[in-house]
């Protein structure tokens, strides 16, 4: 289970960071007031609360839940947010979806399916460094798009460590390759990253719409990344090829040759993905239509599968719930969503959206680089969900101006996922990978070692996303109306008021 590292620092250093953080938070409050998006005192409180959570994730990541707790208390206590509003914006549907998926992934490990994947690759005949790297890239992206970035990186790194330990070579380049591709693959589906399900659900996209929009861009980004890393790490890859050849000469494999049963796990994963892929059709059959039931079956599918799995393996049910779910992360998400809801309730995000619409010329597409850039840079340093939570109400408010702004959901998605590659702390997958690498005594990746390749890949994939969002016809949410009609109708009638978008 992933846990936050607590770094010991001197009291003076801590005080300095707190003072700096407080200064920046106050500056954000003053700035928001100055530009007119936080006019009333409660609006300033909402801005400062949200900003302090952002800075806590940056400066004191181990304390982020503590500060988020206090933030919610401040908002409710100062009447910056109603209790009902807090419960409404905590996005319990998304949290339950993630809980269900985490249990399913735990069961997939338990049933041997993920072990079987590793065994299959290890036992591949005539493997070279290049084929291993290509397999690693594809596997990282594919797995992260299906079982989530955190579970995926754990599986993929088990493979990397097994191969590198056996060959006695440095694992770090392959860890980096795996993480870069994991973050890219995580943008491809709603299952890949918590921001995926959040954005998909908020945008009102079905699973298949999301896939049709995200996969082409993720695929191009993956292939480009693969080419870059094959060149960037050519020496390490060549070294691996040599070692593999030496190993083959003495008839040694890359790991134990064990036959792992995989059919049950394969069935569980396939059933989950198929049901999720056809959730919209099932919703129609079941009469789950209307704004209140948007993506209802998508949300409950993981709960159904997880429930059935726990019925099937009752002795493991408690283990799944207690050990396979990242409660720490999910709790932070809930609190963060609630605090971002405070911005919405205080109409700060609405004012920000109005400002953005006013100052931007060139329509919604002109805002793509802005959202993509801000989210990428932000996600490089703090949890990507923070920026997604912040932009969500802004985009919803922009949609009141024009439904064309729905393109920004995609910019938000790719900015959040691809931006995570830029630094070592850019995504949870990066932090988990770094922790695993250090825990196993293999190596340490410095901030600068990471940023060299991370920045190159971040800029490249960001540019790809920007370019493709400009030329591609991205799937529109169900109920989307053509631009001319949308402009002619008041926001409330377009079916895209913030309320209905939820």
């Amino acid at each position: 289970m992933y846990s936050e590292p607590v770094v010991k620092t001197s009291p003076l250093h801590v005080l300095g960071k707190i003072a700096f953080m407080a200064g920046l938070t106050a500056l954000a409050g003053w700035g928001a007031h100055h530009v007119g998006i936080a006019v009333k005192p409660l609006q300033v409180v909402a801005v400062c609360t949200f900003t302090s959570v952002i800075f806590t994730t940056l400066f004191f990541p181990a304390h982020r839940i503590a500060v988020a707790f206090l933030g919610v208390a401040v908002l409710v206590g100062t009447r910056g947010m109603t209790l009902q509003g807090m419960l409404h914006t905590a996005e319990l549907d998304i949290i339950l979806f993630l809980v269900g998926m985490m249990i399913i992934v735990g069961a997939l490990k338990d049933l041997g399916f993920l072990t079987w994947i590793i065994q299959t690759i290890i036992n591949t005949k005539k493997m070279t460094g290049t084929t291993f790297t290509v397999i690693l890239c594809v596997l990282s992206a594919l797995l992260s798009s299906l079982i989530g970035e955190i579970s995926s990186i754990v599986v993929v790194l088990a493979l990397v460590f097994q191969v590198c330990d056996t060959l006695k070579i440095r694992a770090t380049p392959f860890v980096l390759i795996a993480v870069l591709c994991t973050n890219i693959g995580s943008a491809a589906t709603m299952l890949g990253n918590p921001v995926g399900i959040f954005i998909g659900n908020k945008a009102g996209l079905t699973f298949s719409q999301f896939v049709f929009g995200a996969v082409p861009i993720a695929l191009v980004a993956l292939v480009s990344t693969m080419i870059v890393v094959l060149l960037w790490y050519r020496k390490s890859i060549a070294g691996m090829s040599l070692k593999m050849e030496e190993h083959r000469k003495v008839h040694q494999g890359l790991g134990p040759l064990v036959r792992i049963p995989h059919r049950r796990g394969f069935f569980v994963l396939t059933a989950t993905i198929l049901i999720i892929a056809f959730h919209h059709q099932i919703e129609n059959i079941l009469g789950l239509t209307g704004a209140d039931n948007t993506n209802a079956f998508l949300i409950i599918t993981p709960l159904i599968i997880a429930g059935l799995l726990m019925v099937y393996r009752p002795r493991r049910a408690r283990h799944y719930v207690e050990n396979e779910i990242e409660w720490w992360t999910l709790l932070f998400f809930m609190l963060l969503f609630a605090i971002a809801g405070g911005l919405q309730e205080q109409e700060v995000t609405g004012k920000l959206a109005d400002k953005l619409a006013e100052i931007t010329t060139g329509g919604p597409k002109a805002l793509i680089p802005f959202v993509l850039g801000i989210t990428s840079i932000g996600s490089a340093f703090v949890d990507n969900i923070v920026f997604v939570a912040a932009f969500n109400p802004v985009i919803q408010s922009l949609l009141e101006h024009s439904s064309g702004y729905s393109i920004l959901w995609w910019a938000l998605l790719f900015g959040a996922c691809f931006g995570g590659n830029i630094t070592v702390v850019g995504s949870t997958a990066n932090i988990v990978a770094l922790g695993l690498l250090e825990k196993r005594g293999h190596d340490h990746i410095s901030f600068f070692e990471w940023i060299k390749v991370g920045l190159a890949i971040g800029v490249l994939t960001g540019a790809i996303a920007w370019g493709m969002l400009n030329v591609m016809e991205m799937p529109k949410p169900l109920g989307h109306r053509p631009e001319a009609k949308a402009a002619a109708l008041p926001a409330a009638a377009t079916g895209f008021s913030p309320k209905t978008a939820q």
């Binding site: 490990k109 338990d110 049933l111 041997g112 993920l114 072990t115 590793i118 599986v155 088990a158 493979l159 097994q162 330990d165 056996t166 040694q252 494999g253 790991g255 134990p256 040759l257 064990v258 036959r259 792992i260 049963p261 493991r316 005594g441």
Partner: protein, 311 residues
């Protein structure tokens, strides 16, 4: 408000537990059990202790279980007694020597110690107080030559023999241990596990500093990669396929792969009770006693329990 200074701790001398009246010099031609009974009766009469038979049985049972010959002709028969208010010590000497155990030379100086059951450290503190004469090869024989109880008493008084304030880790450690070098191979390590029938071995660097431990369990972890352990049911693996790699590589693999740097350890002068803390905190079966980084000895959990509850 007036503050009272904390009471200063007065160091106890071994001689505060007995006087010349508790000493029986020149006990010749008697067996171990006879001597113990005579000495016990003598102390009991002097201090009004009633349960002599029960004390005698306890001391003999303890002696039969594990003789109390400490070194250089000295024996310290003892027992933990319920409801005893304070320790009682009786001393006997024998010029000819008395055989306490088949495989030990005759003893010339005998200290019989009765300790309250709830003061487990006292016996060890008395042993520490006797450290100087325990180290001196001729001390027991010299004392046995002294003619009177008063002269024996003066010998003890001259020696100082202050009881330490507490029992430290070094007092209860076993200083005989096996260790591996950090450049040893997995083969040496596996051989050691099998030959010595141990499941944990400390690892030292070339300077003798302790760098970690290797556990037989960690070796199994290397054989069974983590991803195999994800499965709750390993029954599909019916042979020893996961061990093949180690069987191939054990001669070329260094210990670093299974070295654990997190282990239970205390410094030599740490209170013995901190050993319990370390063992519990690390869920370990033994605690290593260090002097700086140098490994001086180890305290296994059974040894610790014996020292606290039985010895």
């Amino acid at each position: 408000m007036h503050k009272t200074a904390p009471p200063t701790k007065v160091s106890l001398s071994l001689t505060s537990f007995f006087s010349a009246d508790d000493i029986l010099p020149h006990q010749e031609d008697v067996s171990r059990n006879q001597l113990i009974r005579q000495l016990l009766l003598h102390v009991a009469n002097g201090h009004g202790l009633m349960e002599v038979d029960a004390y005698y049985t306890a001391i003999i049972e303890r002696e039969n279980a594990n003789n109390t010959v400490v070194s250089n002709g000295i024996a310290i028969p003892h027992a933990r007694i319920n409801d005893l208010q304070r320790p009682y010590v009786g001393v006997a000497t024998s010029t000819k020597g008395i055989r306490f155990a088949e495989d030990e030379p005759p003893v010339h100086l005998i200290l019989l110690v009765l300790i309250p059951r709830d003061q487990p450290g006292l016996y060890l503190q008395i042993l520490r107080a006797l450290a100087n004469i325990l180290r001196d090869r001729d001390a027991a024989r010299s004392v046995s030559q002294l003619a009177t109880a008063e002269e024996v008493m003066r010998f003890f008084e001259r020696g100082g023999m202050i009881l330490p304030d507490y029992v430290c880790a070094a007092d209860i450690m076993d200083d005989e241990f096996i260790a591996l070098r950090d450049n040893d191979t997995l083969k040496t390590c596996i051989d050691c596990f099998i030959a010595k029938q141990v499941s944990e071995i400390p690892v030292l660097d070339c300077d003798g500093d302790m760098v970690g431990i290797v556990r037989a369990g960690a070796l199994l972890k290397v054989c069974l990669p983590e991803y195999l352990l994800w499965m709750s049911d390993l029954s599909p693996i019916i042979n020893f396929e996961p061990f093949t790699a180690i069987l191939h590589n054990e001669q070329d693999t260094r210990l670093s792969g299974i070295l654990l740097e997190d282990f239970a350890s205390v410094q030599m002068n740490a209170p013995a009770v901190s050993v319990a803390g370390e063992i519990t905190r690390h869920n370990a079966s033994r605690c290593y006693v260090l002097n700086g980084k140098k490994l001086m000895g180890l305290i296994s959990l059974p040894r610790f329990l014996n020292k606290v509850f039985r010895e």
